[in-house]
Every structure is written in C-alpha cells, then in structure tokens.
Amino acid sequence: MTADRHLRLALATTLLFLAMGLGLEAMLGLRAQGAVDDGVRRELWRLGHAHGALGGLLNVALAYAMERLRTPAAWARRIRLAALLGALAVGLGFVGGGLWHGPTDPGPLVLAVPAGALMLLSSLGAIVLLRAGDGPAAS
C-alpha cells in the first residue's frame, strides 16, 4: 500500500466512524427502538464509533510518523496494511458485537477487537523500534 493511499484510507476510516456518531445521535434523538432500548448494543456501538474514529486518526498519525522517521520500505508497506486493518477490526468488531449479541454480552464478532488492537499495537511498536537504516534496504 502506498503512503498516499494509506493516508487517504486513514482519513476515510476516520470519516466513516465519525459519521457513525451522527447516526447514533440521530437514533438517540429519535428514540429508535433496537438502539436506545438495548443497553449492550448502545454501549458497543458507542465504543465502535469512538475506537474506530481514534483508530483512523492513529493511522493518520502513523502515516506522518513513518514518513518523518523514514521507516524501512519493506516494513512500511506492511505496517500501513496492519494498522488500517487493525483500526477497522477494532471499530467494526465493536459494531458487529453490538449488532448481534446475546442477553448480557456482546456477540462473537467482538473477538475481532483484540485482533485489531494487536495489529495496531504491533504497528505502533514497529515504528517506534525501527530506524531508517534498518533492514535490507540499507545494505
């Protein structure tokens, strides 16, 4: 994935989950059944909205950080993919876990959240640890 595409998709992810906030507010305002009266769903959708938007912003920050720190290209391509997938998995995992859930707990789609979080953390860790000269590109 190119740096430009990553930045564009990161902003799109932020846009998607921020727009979801508008939808949630509208549902609360209109007292939409199935959203307002379902505590588990309401909480998980709120979490999905917040984490998805934060994940998108984190990707924007990562895109700038990788450019600024000149992260090795072999890593950078994969970091962009992992970070973007991570943000989507976290946001959509919460949303899906709330959309289809049992009486007291989220549905199984929420299991995507830890997977996404691990990808985001790995990406962030890699950028922190890698130097510009690391890897075969420097040899």
Partner: protein
C-alpha cells in the same frame, strides 16, 4: 523481477511481527468458539434441582439493569434486617394503646428498634419486651419481627402485634389488618391473636428459597433463607448452575446462538402462560402443600419453570382438607368462586377464560418485574385496553360503535373498571379482581352476597337500576335515570356497608372513597361516618382513610381536624366523640331517617371472622 533474499526475509519478519499476534489470537478464538459450540455441556439442559442460590448481588454483574429495577421494587424490601433506612417507623418513644395494652416503641442499644408491651390497668405486667430483628413489608404497612422463644427454640421469630401504616404515618394494631372482631378489652389472647410465627408462616412468601427447618420430633426450628425478601432467584430459581455455565466468556459471547434459550435458570417471560403464572402463584396464590411435613422441614420444593401442581394445589372455594368438615376456605371466595382476598390472584387467573388453560393471558401481559414503576409493577405504557385489545378487537365488542364505545363510559372507565372491579380485600386496601368477568348485575338481583361492578362505582344506585341500565344499553337505549330506589336507602353499597359481611363492609367503604364515584364527596363522607363505628377494626380503617382522602381532596380542614383525635381509632369512647363531631360537620348518615331498615340490616350482618390464612 523478484525481491532479494534479504528483502524477502525482512518481509517475513515484518509480517510475523505485525500480523503474528493477531493471527495467533484469531486462531485461539476460533478454536475456543468451535470447542464451545461443540461442547454439549455448555448448551444442554442442566439439572436445576442441584443448583443452589447465590444471592441477587451476584446477578448485578451481568444484569445491571434488571438488578436495578428489582432493587427499586417492594419485592426486594419484603423482608429486611431492622437496620437504618429499612425501618420506616420512628421508634422514638411512640405509644399505641389498644385493647387495654400499651405498646411503646423505642430504640435500644446500637439504635436497635425495640417494642415493649404492658397492660395499661392493674398491676404492671409486661407482655413483651423485645428487640426488633426484621421488618416485613414496606409499601402499605410495615410489620416487625422479634426473636421470642415460645417453645420452638431460640431461633423462633414472631411477628409483633403492632405495625406502622405507611400512608397514615401512624402505628396500628395488627388486628386491624385482619377480618376478625377486635377482641375483648384486656384479653391478652385477643391482643396477641395475630402474633404469627415467622419461621413457618411469613417466611414463605416474603423471602427467597425459604427453609423453615422444623425438626418434627422436637418442634424446634433451624430456619434459613437464601436471601431476605424476594430476590432474583425467587422467580428465576437457584442460579449456581447458571453462574457456573456462564463463567466461561465464550459461552456468554455465543449465548445468542441458542434457540431454546438458556436452560440453567427459568425465564418467566419465556415460559408458557401456565408456567409463568405458576411462578407468581407460588406467593400470589394461597396453596395447600402436597406434603406439609416436608414443606415445614425442607421448604416447598418448587422450582420456577416447573408446574406448581407438582408440589401443591391452589386453594379454591370448593377445596377440602383432610380431617376438616365441609369447605373450610369458602368464606375467602364470592359465591361464584371468585377470590375476594389478595394473595389469590393466581386462582383468579386460573378461573378466567382468558387464561385458556395455560395458553392465553398470564401475569406478564399486564405486569413486569423489571419496569420503571414499583407500585403495581405494571408494564410501561400499560393500559387495560392495550392488554385486552390484543384479543378483544373493537369489531368483537358489542356496542363498540355507540357513542362512548363499548360500555359507553368513554375514557372515564377503562376495561378494568367493569371487568376487573375492586372486589378484593387485602392489606387494608380494596383491590382489583384478577378474574376478568362480565358485569351481570341482573344475575345478582335479590341477592346480598356479592358485589357487582356497576354499583361499586355508582355508589348511590341500586342493583335493580344497574340491571335495568344494562338491559337498556343492550337495545341501544339511553342511560337510565335513577328510579324510586335511588339514594342511600336503595344504594347497593350502603346496604353492604350496613348489612354485609366484613369484606363487603370494607369494600363498600372503599368504594365510597374512590375519586371516580359519581356522587358528591360530602354525601359520601356522611355515609362513611357510619362505618367508623363498625365492630371490625379493618372496616373502621377503611372508613377513616376514605374520609381522610376525601377531606384532603375537598380541602375540608374541619373534617381533617375531627379525624385527628389521638387514640380515637383504638378507644371506643374517644371514637364516639370523633363520630359526633363528624356528624355535626357532615350531617346525618344515609339511614338516619330509616331506623328500622338500619336495624334490620345490622341484624342481618354476617359477623363471621374470615381467616385470611397467611
């Protein structure tokens, strides 16, 4: 052009670093989900008879909303330790003099509520001097329970003979809540008539998983309950198996998969109408145990979700008891079999055609235990029209197109006004019948043994008028004007107030105090004064509270002041003064000009004691 070996190696390292942990998590999750789905023990029915109670606090972790709605309910506060805010009465040195005894309510060491009862006259004799350990009730009146060894060992607890009335904010003698005559002045046995043993009486319907623990050989008690008050497990059953099953997070995440619902606890809302009613009927339907000895030893053995008939049979009008002649419970029912006491709502529902033998109407159609409103616990936005309308559409109702619709009362009277009339006595209240019936005053003509819905509201009308009015409606006629029997002399309610049995008299007084009764409040207050002189304290309390309510609504300070004579409800002399003062303000009673009719009605009175059978 392929990548160099070094770059390829670096790419693999990057992939492993970036995606490895997530893939590992995904793999473990997939295995866990599959294992859980395929684990028969996670989904099959559990042996709930081996489940034990865990307490409502444990439920809050996963069911916070349900726990909160339960916490607000009077079910939770049905029995509490006599501590802090649980105690509604002041216990600040108040006295209650009744039947020649004085009860003094104070606080002892550690602020423990304390009750001391002594004879008022003669040599000082202490009847009771006890610390209060438990409170029972919190809605209408609060009763108090103390440890008194009367032969059943040190664990015996007894309901004391005084109670705190919440609405009136005053002490009452507990005889006043029962349908028995007041008793003889100075007779200790009468004063302590309703000193009921908690261990094998109150415990059953006021606590969760009660076990009286009676040792049949010694008569001693080793009583225990899973939780004081009606906790979650009273309706859902013991929950240890439920907790054990759901301790595994993946089982909780996959809970939505099951089509049969969770079978480790009962969910009354998902039971059939019959089994749902059984859950409520355990307490809201007096029963006869299949094995009383076993119940007193080990508890009633009922498991929510299973038929109540496995452990008991409901008390109905025709019920008999081995070793007792006749039908010992007959007085608790109207002649048509409808219960006339509260805690028989289950029987009323069973008798209703709407219940359809356990397939139709159930308690949950009108009530919810997890709604916002603790009083009556009706469903949010409940109206009887909505509940009834699910089966009885407008097209199926006679007269639905007439002005005012079916019944022609417009919005002033809902379905319940005519079909669930207030013909039930309980807890010093007139309550709605839980047996939906069709009002048929014509069937009760020339009978004095059962009220009808029409005249319980039209309190100045006779039953003949009600029957004729219904007949006129049936052919589209206009509402009938009252005939010659209009007025107090012919009023069905007045006839009951003077000539009925204790329940009829209490319900007549209750009917006169209802805000919707279409008769001037001043007139009704004058009629109610007669009941202040009733031999039964319960009837007197109905009259007293009715007068208070009407006087408060009408802003009648003179009446309010006359009612506030201290001790008048317990002392006949003071009460006579109160009645005289009220007569001066409100005028003569309904039969003042007809002393012969009044005498005849009083002679006809059925002054039987009606045992409520706690």
């Amino acid at each position: 052009m392929g990548a160099s070996p070094g770059a390829s190696e670096e790419g693999r390292r990057a992939s492993a670093w970036l995606f490895g942990p997530a893939l590992l998590w995904a793999s473990c999750s997939a295995v866990g989900v599959l294992t859980t789905i395929l684990d028969d023990a996670a989904w099959s029915a559990v042996d709930r008879t081996r489940s034990t109670a865990v307490g409502s606090a444990r439920c809050a972790t996963c069911h916070p909303d349900e726990h909160e709605s339960w916490r607000r309910s009077y079910h939770r506060t049905m029995t509490q330790r006599a501590e802090g805010a649980a105690v509604l009465a002041p216990f600040a040195g108040e006295h209650l003099d009744a039947l020649g005894f004085r009860a003094t309510m104070t606080r002892g060491a550690h602020d423990q509520p304390h009750v001391r009862i002594e004879r008022i006259e003669g040599p000082a004799a202490v009847v009771l001097d006890v610390d209060v350990e438990l409170t029972v009730g919190s809605h209408r009146y609060q009763q108090y329970v103390a440890r008194i060894d009367r032969g059943g060992g040190p664990n015996e607890l007894w309901r004391l003979p005084v109670a705190w009335h919440v609405e009136l904010e005053r002490w009452i003698h507990i005889n006043g809540a029962f349908l028995t005559p007041e008793g003889e002045w100075g007779e200790e046995a009468d004063y302590l008539r309703h000193l009921a043993r908690w261990n094998d009486n109150c415990i059953f319907c006021h606590n969760t998983e009660p076990v009286p623990g009676l040792e049949l050989a010694s008569g001693r008690f080793d009583t225990r309950v899973a939780e004081l008050g009606i906790g979650c497990e009273a309706c859902h059953g013991p929950a240890s198996a439920h907790l054990e099953r759901h301790a595994w997070p993946l089982r909780r995440l996959l809970a939505g998969l099951g089509t049969a619902g969770d079978q480790s606890v009962a969910h009354p809302g998902r039971l059939s109408a019959g089994l749902h009613a059984d859950v409520c009927g355990r307490c809201h339907g007096n029963r006869i145990a299949a094995d009383l000895g076993a119940v007193l030893e080990h508890g009633d053995g009922f498991l929510p979700g299973q038929p109540l008939s496995e452990v008991s049979r409901p008390i109905l009008r025709e019920a008999t008891l081995a070793g007792q002649p006749g039908r010992p419970f007959e007085a608790r029912f109207w002649p048509d079999g409808t219960p006339r006491l509260s805690a028989y709502e289950y029987q009323a529902l069973l008798l209703s055609p709407c219940h359809e033998d356990g397939e139709g109407l159930d308690c949950g159609d009108c009530h919810t235990m997890h709604g916002p409103e603790p009083v009556m616990q009706l469903r949010p936005n409940y109206t009887a029209a909505r509940a009834c309308g699910r089966c009885h559409g407008p097209a199926s109702l006679s007269d639905a197109d007439a002005p005012g619709g079916h019944g022609r009362h417009g919005e002033a009277v809902g379905c319940e006004g005519c079909h669930l009339p207030r013909t039930t006595y309980g807890l010093l209240e007139g309550m709605a019948s839980h047996r939906p019936t069709r009002p048929r005053p014509q069937d009760l003509r020339a009978r004095d043994d059962q009220p009808d819905a029409c005249t319980q509201c039209h309190v100045d009308r006779s039953r003949d008028w009600a029957a004729a009015a219904l007949a006129a409606w049936a052919v589209g006629g206009a509402p009938l004007e009252p005939g010659e029997d209009h007025g107090p002399a012919g009023s069905r309610v007045v006839l009951d107030l003077h000539g009925g049995d204790p329940i009829q008299r209490a319900l007549a007084a209750h009917a006169l105090a209802q805000p919707e009764a279409p008769v001037a409040a001043e007139e009704r207050m004058a009629w109610l004064v007669d009941a202040l002189d009733d031999d039964y304290p319960a009837v007197r309390w109905f009259a007293f509270r009715g007068l208070r309510r009407l006087a408060a609504e009408r802003a009648e300070p003179d009446v309010m002041q006359a009612l506030e004579v201290s001790g008048a409800m317990e002392d006949p002399g003071l009460r006579a003064l109160m009645i005289d003062r009220l007569r001066e303000i409100l005028g003569p009673g309904p039969l003042a000009q007809r002393p012969e009719q009044r005498r005849a009605l009083h002679e006809r009175r059925d002054d039987q004691a009606i045992w409520i059978g706690e």
